[in-house]
Symmetry: D2
Subunit: 455 residues, 4 copies
């Protein structure tokens, strides 16, 4: 990583010099709209590269120090002031309409490009450009909630990030106990599925002989994982989180394992929302593991079911659920009080009905756009995995109780069927499932729910 | 570099698997237009990432093995079949015209984007995607000479490469005698200014204590320099190539030097034509050298004057050159026979007049677009350098004789003036020159030549 | 580090093969004396290298699993059975005495070499040979307390380690927050001066802009620091540990500092006792820091005084201390109860007398061998440092209270005087001290104490 | 490698400082015996480490610049002036004789150690210490030819090098076309078996898919291979060099190969003569190749027979060779004129008899010490290989003609027999050979030749 930091230093130095020459005031300049406007216009007009780097740095430094209000002003400015040149666009439209052809279409595409896009590209020249732009979009996503018009600006960010984070640029790295601490602390921070409380727990996730962790990195976001997956090497397909994370468990040698269990996948950068890495990650990790451990034959997840409890609540409230019998719905009322997990009798009663309901949810529930309702299911099924098994009381954490009454799911990546499963899912909307899951919940017509929690 | 190759291997493996599943036929498939069309359409439509990588690889493999004719057919197909969706574009135009606003402008920009662009982005998923696309554009640039309509396709390539080769992604690396041989052989191959005949000569360029070489690399084009510069550390500003490259010269210690001479800058990838690296390269190398060798105070080039001889021929042919006196023009006729360099008397006579003419060319000649005529001058002046000295009989090679009657130029990078020079050049078209050069050729009105050799 | 582990893997593989062929039983073999004897004899006799690696591994594996008693038996065996060949030695003595000459002296040296030494060299062939031998010596040092005869074996270990850990083989590496976690956890574990309680505290020691840490490593003990030093970059010479380690302190930029304070030096490997690294470490770190931060002009320690309290107890018990006045001795009785640090009045009274006594101890106290009594003083003075300042209530930890009544010392490394100070110390036993320290305690005749705590 | 050079820089800096303080005169000091004596005595007596590094550097610098005569004086000084302290040695002998015991034996070993050894250890402190000492021994080996008394000094060098180049410190690295040029040029230079004429030929040895090269390196001799082996991946056991090195041959994919042919092994450092690496190298390369290419089942050499021609000359000169019939001896006279290789009839006649004679030489010829006469055979048989096949006209180079009438040999490393072969060779002096070789030359009683060429 030293090359990268060396490189960062140099960019820094070049920017410093440029800044001095331009008397940009660097650290001390304010972020008032008119100042930012001047800087951005100069950046767009400047043909001098040295001043380009310095100007980009000046804009980003001011943004970093700006108040929330100044930041919103900046975004509004990007929205309103940095669209395409309307006159030129009008002319390009006229030319295209007069003679539609590849050159006039391309000219129209050029003329319709917002000046925002080029501004963002030039901001990327600054030494810390990429990471500041990612953080800038984080802020923008928050603002968008109250100011949906900013969605246009957000689309420009998303467009650029999709190009810059093209899978061809990503590098997969194993994460283990010999990984630099500044990366490991981010694994602790970003773990989104099964919380890592401290360094000892982290160590249990990455150091034992039967544990693996992999992350994607981007050459310009050194030390910042983009997404990571935690893997347990086992001899059976696990049915509960406990058996995977039990601190007292005796590790096995990697060569003894025949299954690789993906039990946690976490996206790290909110600012990259919508740029998809997970599919590539899983497939590359599978290849990587197979190469090192040829005995591995089963690749399977142990995954949460984040939308189950909310769906179930809706199903049991109404009176005519198409997927649940009246009897089941009565029994399920017992699940409302979370104390049931400690009551053996209730556990016994709820086990079959919750399992059936969960299978039903995964097989039949659809979101308003017609897609599979559960976001995690949508992700793995879309990757070509098969819904293999539904696990009762598989995660006793408060969150899993709240979201899924403790249910978890195994999705199986059967290498020779991935392609076919994928096609079945996308072409025909089919949820490929094992026969045992299918037996649990005879497929009705898919049912559309009206909201899905974000993954 | 092993990480990169490891990474390449994995992509390869993933692609292999995908290919097998899809029965794409890999190596054996032909490149007939209809086959390529099918593959490209599938690639654009496919939502499966595994098949995405395999499809991209299939297209690029077929391209690599295709005949010249098949390749032209492919490009024509890109031009004609992969423009924007005309219906959608028409609707977007209508919507924008009905209500011009950021969202409708952005939607118009999206609708006017050619499907080509997305196709090229997806081709980049293949393990060797980037380098094949660069070679593909090399071929395209050749075809364009006969088929100017392909310029539209070329613009799409250029657009993507500008984004992918954003300076923020480039890495500067010193090149020396401990550099891997597979990189060094490319330095030999790509050297475009002063030929490197063999490994011994290469060694003399990169190993001595008073020699440096730097190149930009891109993370996805491992082992492929994009541009490189060769530097001599000296105690004086050299006036001839001979004193720089003399094999018998005694190297000095780097700490003794006070000048860094950039005597050769070579672009390596024809396929990246139009993506500008040189300006960044020089500035970063200056910073790098200053950090390691704080004694360095002079940063200067020893550069060719590729357009001089052609310009001079035109000036002397006509009868009313605004920059040359009739007497000078008479004398210059002697330069037509290259044998003059061995005739002391002729050398004496030609020295002042060639020197004056060269200064005049650099100061006053303009190309049809109004820019400085000489491409190398345009490059360095545009970077903020100053035209410092014109050197007579500075390069005795055949090429330099043909292009510039052996003249060479020193451009000086005076760090504290770069910004001002740059502004003077771009804002007012001013050629900043030392007083000694200015004395040689009193500035007349700029003179427009009708052609400039490519740099 | 991957190369090293790759390399380890290979050695492992080779050893496995050898083991299988030899039916050594690997993991399951016992460590009974006769078994170990056979293995060692075979290892010494074997001319086959493959079996050499396997045999070495077998011996070391059994040692690792052996009971304390078996380990002692093994050491006793090394002592008694693996001396030189007595007959050959007798002949070599006779030959030398008959004709003393370089060849006969050299032959005598060869004949007197114990077979132990060669055995230890061959044990080093095993993949984990070096680290197991270091741990073996740790155990040996413990045994030596009860079995001083084993000192002969220990001397052989020390002899080999001195050669294998020759300073020429050591590599200095900076330790920071980007260092691999498996190295950082060893910094936590080995810190011997100011305890590091957890990862947050570690982070405060290595991450801030004004903190540095450096360690020596050996190519065959990857991930195992041998010795490390913690450095604070400051603008003044600190008088207390508190000001250095205060978690609430605001870091300064490294460029603002003019002093580098070595506030903690810890040896990591008990098994390498007697192999000296500290002197090289400090000097190399000074050079390293000066190169990166040319503004640094002061290099100074903040060091404990581990022998002070014990010495003072002896001085105040007797009735005729040559270094303390009766009045001072009366006052010093107050220091026996550690509660004094919270009693302002006592603090006031003790400050001058403890400071004087400490200066007196450092300047005048000698150990039975005539050396400076305090081991830390001996180390830094021996390196050429100057005793610069004695600091009252500089470390409020329990340990520092117990060992030194809270006193600490600054030793100054004045680069242009190191050599002269070093000579003064070794040639004339002189304690080079600042005039202010010398004023505190007029030098009497050096006083020999009868015991020194180990450093 | 940058870490190493960084490290070298630091040592350099430290040494510079020390040198200045000591006024050692560095570059300008002479190498007169009395000066060297003073420096060496100071180095041995000095307890100051900073001056230790500087002194070591001063001695080595002067050695490097010394004349041949001064160098011989220096070695003579080492021989005569730096033996053990005779008085102390006499006392240690007396103490041992009075009471032979581990401590007195160890004390004797210590007292008999020459001061030379410690001096050489301290010279190793200098930044370039190790490599200068290796070159120093190169010179010493040359001197020894005329001054056999220097053998005592040489033994001390050999003793230290054996410890410092313990196999545990060596690192195996693949050599390929991406290896740094400064390492590759050493492969060209050191290739001792089949000359590499230029960079193109080197490239053919290391770049094709069916070629491999591996070298051992030592951490303190960066960029200096110690020994390397060139490997061809093939589908058959080759019988001639031509088929291996043919520039026109079509490379196969590595995965198609089932045999790895070691066709060239070269030691690189004359100064390390007697320190054995080859055995370890071959075994580790075998393991490495098997891991990467599990299809490989045959590991075999194509080796020269350097002693054959000389042996044959002796056998045919005398009149009663025990291994050759009179008829054969008559025929073999034809081989004296090298022109026979172009005379088909002679080739036909010589083929059976040369083949038989070569088998006989390898199976039966012994050197005066009773070992197998041919040094290459001794090496591979000692490693546990089997003499597999004798190849007629296998190397048409002048050297091979001169040394072996063009004969070459395949030695087979049959993994499961290596240990047994090794034991047979060392314990019973048995030359393990294939039945086809044994049939060629019924084993007579081994025959002792009186000289062997150096390997």
């Amino acid at each position: 990583m030293s090359e990268a930091s060396f490189f960062g230093d140099l960019l820094q130095t070049i920017a410093e010099r440029g800044r001095r020459l331009l008397a940009l005031g660097g650290g001390d300049g304010g972020a008032r709209p008119q100042d930012m406007r001047t800087l951005c216009d100069t950046l767009l007009s400047s043909r001098g590269e040295a001043s380009g780097i310095a100007l980009a740095k000046a804009v980003l430094d001011r943004w970093t120090r700006a108040s929330e209000e100044e930041r919103r002003d900046f975004m509004t400015m990007l929205l309103e002031q940095y669209g395409p040149d309307e006159v030129a666009l009008g002319q390009a439209i006229a030319a295209y309409q007069a003679a539609p052809s590849p050159p006039t279409a391309q000219a129209l595409h050029g003329a319709s490009e917002s000046r925002r896009l080029e501004l963002l590209r030039r901001l990327n020249l600054a030494p810390e450009g990429m990471s500041t732009l990612v953080r800038m979009r984080e802020a923008l996503l928050r603002m968008k909630a109250d100011a949906p018009a900013l969605g246009v600006v957000d689309d420009d960010f998303a467009h650029l990030f999709t190009s810059w984070f093209n899978r061809g640029f990503l590098v997969l790295r194993p994460i283990d106990w010999a990984t630099p601490a500044n990366v490991l602390e981010k694994i602790i921070r970003y773990e989104a599925v099964h919380e890592i409380r401290d360094w000892d727990e982290l160590r249990r996730r990455v150091e034992p002989t039967d544990r693996r962790c992999f992350a994607f990195f981007h050459p310009r976001l050194i030390d910042e994982p983009l997404i990571f997956v935690e893997v347990a090497l086992t001899t059976t397909m696990p049915a509960t989180v406990e058996e995977v994370l039990d601190p007292a468990r005796a590790p096995i040698r990697a060569e003894e394992a025949n299954a690789a269990v993906f039990y946690s996948i976490s996206n790290c950068q909110h600012g990259l929302r919508g740029v998809s890495f997970g599919n590539f990650l899983i497939k590359q990790v599978v290849e990587d593991l197979r190469r090192d451990l040829p005995e591995l034959s089963t690749f399977v997840t142990l995954s949460p079911v984040p939308g189950f409890a909310a769906w179930l609540a809706r199903e049991t409230q109404g009176d005519g659920s198409p997927t649940l019998s009246a009897e089941d719905r009565a029994l399920l009322a017992e699940a409302d009080d979370r104390g049931w997990v400690d009551d053996e009798a209730k556990v016994e009663r709820l086990k079959p009905v919750l399992t059936r309901a969960c299978a039903s949810y995964l097989l039949n529930a659809r979101n308003p756009r017609g897609g599979v309702a559960d976001p995690v299911a949508r992700f793995h099924l879309g990757n070509g995995a098969r819904l293999e098994r539904v696990n009762f009381l598989a995660d006793r954490s408060a969150r899993a109780g709240r979201q899924a009454h403790g249910m978890m799911v195994n999705y199986l990546y059967e290498l020779d069927e991935i392609e076919a499963n994928h096609e079945a899912f996308f072409a025909r909307g089919e949820v490929v499932a094992s026969s045992s899951v299918r037996r649990l919940a005879p497929r009705g017509r898919p049912v559309t729910a009206d909201a899905t929690p974000a993954r």
